[in-house]
Amino acid sequence: MFKKILIANRGEIAVRVIRACKELRIASVAVYSDVDRASLHVRKADEAYSIGAAAATESYLNIPKILDVAKRSGAEAIHPGYGFLSENAAFAQACVDAGLKFIGPTAASMEMMGSKTRARQNMQKAGVPFVPGTSSGLESFEKAAEAAARIGYPVMLKAAAGGGGKGMRMVGNPGELKSAWEAARSEALRAFGNDEVYLERVLINPRHIEMQLLADEHGNVVYLGERECSIQRRHQKVMEESPSPIVDADMRRRMGEVAVRVAKASDYTNAGTVEFLVDSDRNFYFLEMNTRLQVEHPVTELVTGLDLVHLQIRIAAGEKLPFQQEDVQIRGHAIECRVYAEDPDNNFFPSPGKITLLLRASGPGIRLDTGVYEGWNVPLDYDPLLAKLSGFGSDRQQAIARLVRALSEYFVGGIKTNVPLFRRILKDPEFVAGNIDTGYLDRLLESRFAEPNRDNADVAAIAAGVFAVLDGQTGSASNGRPSGNEAASSAWKRAARAAVLRGD
């Protein structure tokens, strides 16, 4: 086993990995940028080293500096967390070249999964299902019409050489195909110098469901059940749960087996996640593989009882998986809320700043993974994830009830957070019924929202007075104002100004 591990990350995930190191009696080395000196991960680590300016390119993405700290501190392995360098094959290779163990897959596996076309070819060989379509270019309009009829409308025309939405046309019915075919081809020719186009079925508001994998370096691969990640805003996951409300034991086994095939086809090692799109008939299609630990890994930990970070470290140290597929049992239900520093009343605008009050949630079935503390100034330079609040219960209903209860205990003051959004989702009848897909959150946000009731204004009035009495003053400290723009300071000044203007 390793004696010392460097964590090339910050925030809650760095704290998460440091905690695992402590539990495994491994010394932890933190790195930090100029704005992160007082960050929680620096406080929790055994050693910490500065790696430069706030901009990630100067610090958390700076490979030479991170390798230099690893060398200086005597770390034997590097855990990349998620984001930053976690899916950077060049970094994984640089670690190996520097004699360090990268806690994750090999650079070769990452490269293969990073290239969509290579991944698709390899996965098709392994019999992995893709969204129905023509895998090669279409020779003529007649062939396109035939293929579209076979696949079923609506279909998407896509440029074979393409990307970035160029040469893409959605076709709702056969009557639209001719003009879309010509437009897509000429656009593809102009953009890529190649007018080859192919067809794919359009999935409208599919679910996003992913399968967690663990692979050791001895050829053993297991799946740890799925996570339902359909609640997204602008392709950013907001809430995840395990198991999915629509996945039964048979579907889980089929998805899991496909995911294991994906891993084996790419010689995958360590923790990874295979993402699928699932249509309304519960058909699932390969989307991509994430070659790292996921943000939402706690829900899998809660329902399997396994510690994924412990297992990542043990796999990287060369150990065999300590269990087999049939030993993995899914028990109960877990839901995670990603608490972001953003303002739900103002189009989810980021809200960095000082946390002036922080009350934690605890009690039965509650897990809080956090990277912040009271008094800490949330910097504006990085992802605004503050914490992950997860609820676990013997079933989905109990997990929801526990989260609702925990959200009434949890409080972040001084900055805006998306906590009100979770209250809203958790009591939404569609969510409670499990009727969610990737269009769910946009629909919810468009609908009218009943404000929390304001029947307690009299209680607030009494409280404001009590605070003022306890403060022993009625001045600035008790002078709360609804708008962000305060009246100019003093009535004396105002009176003086008025006097000057009057000329007396």
């Binding site: 960095p352 001084g414 304001r454 009035a461 104002r481 609804p482």
Partner: protein
């Protein structure tokens, strides 16, 4: 102590007294059975006629708010006996108001010129933070007396950006 507390445009006359650890509370002339303990800084445990509430007081760069459950209240306290409060009560909409930066960021655009007329709610300048743009609006109708912010410069939360007279 006697306060006029204004919440959601409604005014409450609050009379509070504490003698040997016991609170005496009157709200709009009515006796209210109340006990209060400061559990920690900014967290108050209040019992009102048997009902228990945990009230959080939230401090931000410019404001104070009071949370009862998931509802957030802005409260303005006035001492009805003080001259200053009476004057303010009479003339809150008069006098200059400051536009302050709600968060740290960069001033990307100034939309109006100094000395120009401005409507309540009209955008005055744009501040960018975390790659998002936020329009800072005028809190009142009046004249833009001064623009302190300079396009392209960084600002901190609470910095004065402009003053509307």
């Amino acid at each position: 102590m006697v306060y006029d507390v204004i919440i959601d445009d409604k005014s409450y006359r609050l009379e509070l007294e504490r003698t040997s650890g016991k609170w005496h509370c009157k709200l709009d002339g009515r006796e209210v059975e109340m006990d209060a303990v400061l559990a920690r800084r900014d967290v108050l445990s209040i019992l009102i006629e048997g009902k228990a509430y945990e009230i959080k007081r939230e401090r931000t760069a410019n404001d104070l708010h009071y949370w009862v459950g998931s509802a957030r209240y802005a409260a303005e306290l006035r001492d009805p006996r003080s001259l200053r409060s009476r004057q303010r009560a009479a003339g809150d909409e008069h006098g200059p108001r400051k536009l302050v930066a709600p968060m740290a960021g960069k001033v990307v655009r100034v939309l109006l010129q100094e000395k120009s007329e401005v409507e309540a709610g009209q955008g005055v300048l744009v501040v960018e933070a975390m790659k998002m743009q936020n329009e800072i609006k005028s809190p009142k109708k009046g004249m833009l007396q001064k623009i302190v912010a300079i396009e392209g410069t960084a600002v901190n939360a609470g910095d004065v950006l402009a003053i509307v007279e």
